[in-house]
């Protein structure tokens, strides 16, 4: 009996020590850096195997989810954003600037008259769940051509209206995302203003959100305010290319 108790105690102790070791290991910067190497390998392998223009799977209208979950910000409290909601987004403009020849500011009506695409796709959240929705929006590629990307431009940064982490400085707490030009010019990459044939609801990112169908949900930035063409991501937010990327998630979210 005593021996049994001793053995159980020893096993529990060993398990506890291993847990602590695992947690320490995870928190170690060198370990993190090594583990993060896999992301580049994954991105290169996927781009090697999957055609750059390959379309994400599209679904039938009957398959649209009736319980499409909203995640991240679902009702931003930022005063500027509340004011936009109050006015029905009449004064909202999408700014496109940075490394472009012709910076612009587009109203919703102007966006709705741009080359558009409608698609019924599956949204995959990093948490593991999926939902199917129908999206209509302006194709990003033609918009960027209209603004005229400068040759140095390598990424498009999406600046959003919502503060998701109020406990840090606005530069770090405000949502943002970024994609490279391969995904920016992908035919299914759109700035969506309609979901399931109705204007985007606030919880889904009104008035405009990104759809970048071959990546996970957190890349699909909501509450878009400004698109900035940049040469590198270092100076923006925490420097990792997105709100969640600054918190340890992969920049390339194709997996």
């Amino acid at each position: 009996m005593n021996r049994r108790r001793w053995l159980t105690g020893a096993a529990a102790g060993a398990l506890g020590a291993m847990l602590t070791a695992c947690n320490r290991l995870t928190a170690n910067a060198g370990v993190q850096q090594t583990l993060a190497r896999a992301e580049g390998l994954t991105r290169r392998a996927q781009r090697l195997v999957v055609d750059r223009k390959a379309l994400a799977q599209e679904f039938a209208a009957a398959e649209i989810s009736r319980d499409f979950r909203a995640n991240g910000s679902i009702s931003p409290g930022d005063p500027d954003y509340r004011a936009l909601v109050e006015s029905g987004f009449a004064d909202w403009r999408l700014v496109i600037d940075g490394l472009v020849e012709r910076p612009m500011a587009l109203s919703l009506a102007q966006l709705r008259s741009q080359p558009a695409r409608t698609q019924i796709t599956r949204h995959d959240c990093v948490e593991g769940w999926s939902a199917i929705g129908k999206w209509s929006g302006a194709r990003l590629g033609p918009l960027l051509d209209k603004a005229g990307l400068k040759p140095q431009a390598r990424y498009i940064v999406f600046h959003c209206a919502d503060t998701l982490d109020p406990n840090v400085s606005p530069a770090l707490g405000r949502y943002y995302e970024s994609i490279d030009l391969i995904d920016a010019y992908h035919p299914q990459t759109i700035l969506a203003y309609d979901m399931n044939d109705a204007p985007l609801a606030v919880k889904h990112g009104a008035p405009l959100r990104l759809r970048v169908e071959r990546q996970l949900g957190y890349k699909h930035a909501k509450y878009l305010m400004r698109l900035e063409a940049v040469a590198d991501l270092a100076g923006i937010g925490g420097g990792q290319g997105g709100f969640w990327e600054d918190r340890g998630y992969e920049w390339y979210a194709g997996i």
Binding site: A56, D124, G128, W129
Partner: protein, 271 residues
């Protein structure tokens, strides 16, 4: 049994490639399992089909208030079990699997994913090395594929009976795998492990664009996630039985053989 303590001789049993890939696989699968449970905890529910119908999971782990205290509950199909302390609620936290079963122990989906995808690459590359060697070097044909006659019902029944009594071949007869052992290993290396890779890739939206038939093969992305989870469970089951068998058949000799390659036999000693 030979009366005189005849000299033990060591014979080569496992090739270097098999030994290296075996232990790499053990390490990779351990990390993949624990980090996989961390990832599962971000949304501890499973569905069939393409999407998650949130009020109809077939497996779900969650917590509920019972009087003053919280209880952990696990739903499987129509049944709900109280699993406080292990599933649904443990360490005063609402969480699917408990801290001791996840990597890292604290809640961090981002860290769990980093471990998982790094070791997934290691696991896949290791598997490719193993498979190339097994095919080219003849290990598959020589040691793993059952020989003629081994699959006859009579032979299988006799082996099953011997296994049930924990009677294993000794001496020279133990140099090769028995048929049940071969079938179990084949089911793992040609069945479960490739299935883990395929269902894993089915969950990647990037891969889906190139290979849309892949998730459909399993009935949709959420079905693929379910099958990924279930086959991980089957691997755990295999490992438990595997370890019991190693222990029953003579742990020192089998382990030495899997580490150094050398297996001790006493000539003339057979059962």
């Amino acid at each position: 049994m030979s009366p005189a303590p005849s000299a033990r001789v060591f014979v080569a049993r496992h090739s270097l490639v098999v030994r290296l890939t075996h232990w790499t696989n053990v390490a990779a699968l351990l990390v993949l399992l624990l980090s996989g449970l961390q990832i599962f905890n971000a949304h501890p529910a499973l569905y069939w089909g393409d999407v998650s119908v949130f009020d109809r999971p077939w497996v779900a782990m969650f917590a509920a208030e019972r009087g003053e205290t919280a209880v952990g509950l696990t739903k499987i199909g129509p049944w709900t079990f109280e699993t406080t302390g292990v599933l649904g609620f443990s360490d005063n936290q609402v969480r699917g699997f408990p801290a001791w079963a996840t990597l890292p122990g604290y809640r961090s989906l981002a860290d769990g994913r980093r471990w998982h995808f790094f070791f997934a690459w290691l696991f896949v590359l290791n598997g490719l090395v193993y498979w190339s060697a097994a095919l080219v070097g003849g290990h598959l044909r020589r040691d793993l594929l059952p020989r003629r006659g081994e699959l006859s019902p009579r032979h299988l029944a006799a082996e099953a009976a011997a296994h049930a009594r924990l009677r294993f071949a000794k001496g020279e007869a133990a140099l090769g795998y028995n048929t049940l052992q071969k079938l179990a290993y084949l089911a793992v290396i040609a069945g479960l492990l490739p299935l883990m890779v395929l269902t894993g890739l089915s969950m990647s939206p990037g891969v889906n664009a190139g290979l849309p038939w892949l998730p459909e093969l399993f009935g949709g992305r959420q079905s693929a996630r379910t099958i990924h989870f279930l086959s991980a469970g089957l691997i755990v089951l295999f490992v438990v039985v595997h370890l019991l068998m190693v222990a029953a058949a003579g742990p020192a000799n089998s382990l030495r053989a899997m580490i150094t390659g050398k297996f001790a036999v006493t000539p003339g000693d057979a059962s």
